[in-house]
């Protein structure tokens, strides 16, 4: 190094050779940073198309049912035979909470049960992949109207037993998955999904078939009891479920058998026999 050229940080100006070197370094660094930005931005998985109509309140009129999860059944035109078609809109609460608390407070305030009554609610809609949900938040004064008399709701739920099924999928919380968060599933979102489900959001099983289409199931215990706490260790990770499937109109509910919820491992399923025989051979 040239004896004249010595750099100290508190000097106002770096010696020429130092300044020139740093300039070269920056000229290399600049494209590296831009290329990294491009690569990292473009390599992200595509976000889902879910929508959360944040800030927009919509009034929805339908028949309220508390079981298996709080929902309202909303008339959606008529089918070709002139029967009324219903879509089922599960209700969820504000933040990471279920809707049970808000509804219970409203029922207490009115001193009636909403079960089977026609009710108009004001809330925020969220939707994705053919499913519609509504957030009811006490701050939005969600109860617009509730009918005095019970509607004849027999048959309205369109309950149909589908038999015992085994399905593999991922447990998600419907609020994040169907609208609020991107991604609202998988490992990065795991903690949040757990927090939402522990807060009372009804757990949903997302099942992807061979063609890549997705089906969604609400999950409850064998007797219809809530499974929110029981699923904590199974959220956002592959699981297999053995359950009685019951269709409630356009949503299928899984009544999970005791021990019917298990972690699922592709390796274990496909290679366990070969691993076992290999190990047996080794031991021999």
């Amino acid at each position: 190094m040239n004896n004249e050229e010595f750099y100290i940080g508190w000097m106002g100006k770096a010696p020429k050779s130092f300044a020139a070197w740093i300039r070269k370094y920056l000229i290399v660094l600049l494209p590296v940073i831009i290329v990294l930005g491009v690569l990292l931005a473009l390599s992200q998985k595509k976000f889902g198309t879910g929508t959360f109509e944040f800030g927009t309140l919509t009034e929805v009129k339908g028949i309220y049912f508390n079981k298996p999860v709080p929902t309202i059944k909303v008339v959606d035109g008529k089918d070709i035979w002139g029967n009324e078609n219903y879509i089922t809109v599960p209700l969820i609460g504000f933040g990471k909470h279920g809707a049970d608390g808000v509804i219970a407070d409203l029922e207490k305030e009115k001193n009636i049960s909403f079960e089977g009554k026609e009710i108009t609610l004001k809330g925020t809609l969220l939707y994705n992949d053919g499913k519609l949900l509504m957030q009811v938040d006490a701050n939005d004064k969600p109860l617009v109207n509730v009918s005095g008399a019970n509607i004849n709701s027999v048959g309205l739920q369109k309950i149909k037993e589908l038999g015992i099924i085994d399905v593999k999928g991922e447990i998600v919380d419907p609020k994040c998955f169907f609208g609020v968060m991107k991604p609202g599933e998988g490992k990065p979102h795991k903690d949040c999904a757990i927090r939402c489900i522990l807060g009372g959001m009804p757990p949903v099983l997302k099942v992807t078939d061979e063609k890549g289409n997705q089906n969604y199931y609400l999950i409850v215990g064998a007797n219809g009891e809530k499974m929110n706490e029981a699923v904590q260790d199974y959220v956002a990770t592959p699981v297999e479920i053995n359950a009685r499937a019951v269709a409630y109109g356009d949503w299928v509910v899984l009544y999970v058998h005791p021990n019917g919820l298990q972690h699922y491992s592709y390796i274990r399923e496909h290679f366990s026999t070969s691993i076992a025989s290999c190990m047996a051979a080794c031991i021999k």
Binding site: L39, F47, K187, D191
Partner: protein
């Protein structure tokens, strides 16, 4: 040069440094956000912010951690070193946005306090596939926080350089935590290998730079000096040292800098009291040995910083026989005055 932070203002170089950091950050954030918005239009604002800031911070972390070995490989990188702490603090501010927004988005408005949620939602600490990666990010953030708030020289003096340096070595632990935070987090979700490849290249580059810089130093330290007499070791020829400069020798694991200035040779401990900078790579300016890293100064004859500063380094005996420089590795107490060795005209020739 204790209290040098009083003297150093925001000079031209610092301003250029800070503007460059700012410009590079804005450029990166703009690239990331705009491309995400165009090619992944279903994004949410929170996710783009969380990802743009986290990836930027990881890039800055790599740049910051590479400066140390780069300067040891080539002195011309020194201007990057002097204000390296500005990079560290900028990185902390950026990653604070990532951490806060993640806690807000993933843990707030729930049935428990967000910080309780951070540690009690996912409790699969025994599983790799399910590991609660956010906790790793949290601990890394705490380390970066401690480093950022203690980055000022005020803390260096109050904590003592040793404690300070130890604290700041935790950056390597933080780096490891960040790598695991990414590997056990978003990498398990993404299907495109680009991110993981970039992380691996980054980690390998850092390790390689540290190894190269490290082996160079070890090679220097491993030189064996054979000729010894009366505790003195023959280290070099007087002509090997330039005027106002030094050569560094490692004797009995002590690094000693031998300076030539004003017709004399002086030996002082090589390790600067500020942040262990290599005094042997410094220069005598205004009669003081000046550390190449941040410019702390010491008098060659006694290893003391000129008043009002209080730093002191050990001194050693050095003597000349003909043109041969002999060095005694026995250290005198820090700040002890030594006569040095006079270079006569005969020696100098």
């Amino acid at each position: 040069m204790g209290a040098s932070y009083l003297a150093v203002g925001w000079n031209r170089q610092k301003k250029i440094y800070d503007w460059l950091i700012f410009a590079f950050c804005v450029l990166y954030l703009a690239t990331f956000v705009v491309l995400t918005a165009i090619f992944n239009p279903d994004y949410t604002f929170e996710t783009v912010l969380i990802r743009a800031t986290s990836t930027l911070a990881v890039i800055i972390l790599h740049v910051t951690l590479s400066i140390g070995p780069l300067t040891r490989i080539n002195k011309k990188f020194l201007p990057l070193l002097y204000n390296r702490r500005h990079l560290g603090v900028s990185m902390f501010c950026i990653i604070l946005v990532h951490g806060s927004f993640s806690i807000l988005q993933f843990h707030s408005l729930g049935n428990v306090n967000p910080f309780v949620s951070l540690f009690t939602s996912n409790t699969h600490f025994g599983s790799l596939a399910d590991f609660p990666f956010q906790a790793l990010g949290f601990f890394a953030l705490i380390i970066f926080f401690l480093m950022a708030i203690t980055s000022h020289d005020f803390w260096l003096h109050n904590l003592s350089p040793k404690v300070w340096k130890t604290l700041h070595m935790f950056v390597y632990l933080a780096y490891f935590l960040v790598v695991m935070h990414v590997m056990l987090g978003v990498i398990q979700y993404e299907t495109n290998p680009v991110f993981i490849i970039i992380m691996l290249i980054g980690a390998f580059t850092l390790i390689a730079l540290h190894l190269i810089a490290g082996t160079r130093e070890v090679n220097k330290d491993d030189v064996i000096y054979k000729l010894k007499q009366d505790g003195y070791v023959l280290v070099c020829d007087v002509k090997d040292i330039e005027e106002d400069r030094a050569k560094m020798f490692c004797l009995d694991t002590e690094r000693i800098a031998v300076y030539k200035t004003g017709g004399k040779l002086f030996a002082v401990n090589n390790v600067c009291k500020h942040q262990n900078g290599p005094l042997g790579e410094g220069k005598v300016i205004d009669g003081c040995i000046t550390c190449p890293w941040h410019g702390y100064q010491y008098l060659p004859q006694n290893g003391q910083s000129p008043p009002p500063f209080k730093e002191k380094v050990s001194t050693y005996d050095v003597k000349l026989e003909g043109t041969h420089v002999w060095l005694n590795p026995k250290a005198y107490a820090e700040g002890t005055e030594r006569p040095g060795a006079v270079i006569s005209v005969v020696n100098a020739e």
